[in-house]
Amino acid sequence: MKLLGHHLVVPLPGGALLMRKRSAAVGCVLLAFTLIAMFAAHWLGVYPIAADRILPLMFSGESNVDQLILLDVRMPRILVGVFVGGLMGMSGAIFQALMRNPLASPDVLGFNAGAAFGALLTIFLFGSAAYVFWGAVVGGVMTAVLVVALSWQRGLDLFRLIMVGIGIGFTLLACADFLMSQLDIQRASDMAKWLVGSLGQIQREDIAPVAIAFVVLGSLGIVLQYSLDRLAFDEDLATGLGLKVNSLRLLLVAVAVVMTATAVAVAGPIPFVAFVSGPIARQLSKTPSSALILAAGIGILVTLLSDTAARTLVASFQMPTGVFTALIGAPYLIWLLARQAKRNLI
């Protein structure tokens, strides 16, 4: 490993990786914070568990209420929060880099609404939650295809994509609302997570799909980041540098859509995680790169902190996770809109 200006060169057999020093440092700090936040999330809760008993409880074969709460209630929720937050953070960072606009995250582009609508539709059609996962993935992918098709003009036109995406997103939210209005009150309140997003009903079986998606799609995203960062030039320059611009864009859109759809399938459309993660990560590391790993880290932290707050702040009842991510994201959206409007960017 050697230093080269602001970069670290990490030698590989027959190659080398290039990493910004500051990004590497921010990554280490985020990892430390994530571990602390995960520990704190296991500790905090309405049911008290002493901090010094958490690690022994996890690894001993004891079987008691403490262990049940820790391993069957808190841990699945926290792990799913980590994977969902990471997936949403990366997905948002990919879209924002592709479209060179921080407004272009999957929650803003309507893909989350599409995934949530797809999930709701399967519940409505089949009367059970058995196909929710596939409903969300198909809903998210179909929304993305629809938005891309409607904005396609001899190539992917980014401005049209944003405009069409916002329109479709609102339409699908209205459709989801309509579906909810057809349900009786009791079931509708169970369904609320499909509108706000919540980790409240997470079970052990939910861990595997998001964990696999996190590892597989995350690795794919990190491999594609090299090209993604070069697509941040305009199309002509990127083509001139030898990139297959249209196929790369389609591939990246596909990866990012499946990332967000998988997350929504499990946790509902938790708002603003995808939207805030990339910009915060880039702001912290001062990098021109899409910084997918750091965006995943911020997504994880935002989700974990929001969910822990939602779960513990009011003892008598649990609030949806999305309420707290919205508290973080909405002011940022307003600030961003104001700033972009001022600079005549929108």
């Binding site: 200006g5 590989l12 320059l237 001139g240 540098l241 001062k286």
Partner: protein, 263 residues
């Protein structure tokens, strides 16, 4: 078999390009001479920019073909093309927050891969490009903080780092004051003389084009009106027929190349 002209690395063969029903280029033939500076001039909307973009495979022709080393440029892997041919488009967009050094190093993209993001050759090529364009002291500055003239030098540095022997530039002097225009053209001349780069540029200023071009391509309505040395192409009659400009043509007092003085 398509016939290739000797010593023409880049060629347009019966090239046709239309946008919808609007025909921009039709049966267009042009051979770019190796190791020379070719400059395309012509009135607005004559198709010169479209021609340059087609030569750089940024536009897909509706008829005919562009040949790079005698083979259709669209049938070659785009990465391989990027090792042979660099393009600086008209208004390039830089990634937000990028520094000059990072921007220049991205010119190495066609020589790199995800696994091999850095090599000794990358370092040498970038250093050379930065020294040649005299931007050493700008290396750590954010690109967005630079002036127009500096930015254009940085773009050229990125193109040089790509180490291609063909470089295409679409109106590289637009928005620059005269001093910076000269500075940029001198830089291109230096690249051509020291590294035998084949350069194709679209320029607006006829007199500057006449000074720097070995080969002038005068275009009108998607056709070539005249081609060759400045002495042959910059004449009173051709200026009248191409630009509709009444003018005198006299020798440039400095270089002796033709100087157009409008009436």
């Amino acid at each position: 078999m398509l016939q290739t002209q000797e010593n023409a690395p880049l060629e347009a063969k019966d090239l046709g390009l239309s946008f919808g029903s609007h025909v921009v280029l039709k049966d267009f033939n042009l051979a770019i001479p190796r190791g020379k500076i070719s400059v395309v001039i012509g009135p607005n909307a004559c198709g010169k920019s479209t021609l340059l973009r087609s030569l750089a495979r940024l536009e897909k022709p509706t008829a005919g073909t562009v040949l790079l080393d005698g083979k259709s440029i669209h049938k070659q892997p785009t990465r391989g093309v990027a090792k042979r041919l660099g393009i600086l488009p008209q208004m390039p967009v830089a990634p937000e927050g990028i520094t000059v050094g990072d921007l220049v190093s991205r010119g190495r993209t066609p020589h790199q891969s995800v696994w091999r993001q850095w090599s000794r050759q990358d370092e040498v090529a970038i250093q050379k490009a930065i020294e040649m364009t005299k931007i050493t002291e700008l290396r750590d500055k954010p690109f967005n903080s630079l002036s127009g003239g500096q930015r254009q030098r940085v773009w050229i540095a990125m193109a040089l780092a790509q180490e291609t022997d063909l470089l295409l530039l679409d109106e590289p002097t637009t928005f620059l004051d005269l001093a910076h225009q000269i500075e940029l053209l001198e830089l291109l001349k230096q690249c051509n003389e020291e590294q035998q780069m084949t350069i194709v540029a679209v320029l607006h200023d006829i007199n500057l084009a006449a000074r720097y071009a070995h080969n002038l391509v005068v275009m009108k309505d998607g056709r070539i009106e005249a081609q060759g040395s400045a002495g042959k192409t910059i004449t009173k009659d051709i200026m009248k027929s191409t630009f509709g400009l009444e003018c005198y043509v006299m020798p440039d007092p400095v270089k002796g190349t033709p100087l157009v003085v409008p009436v």
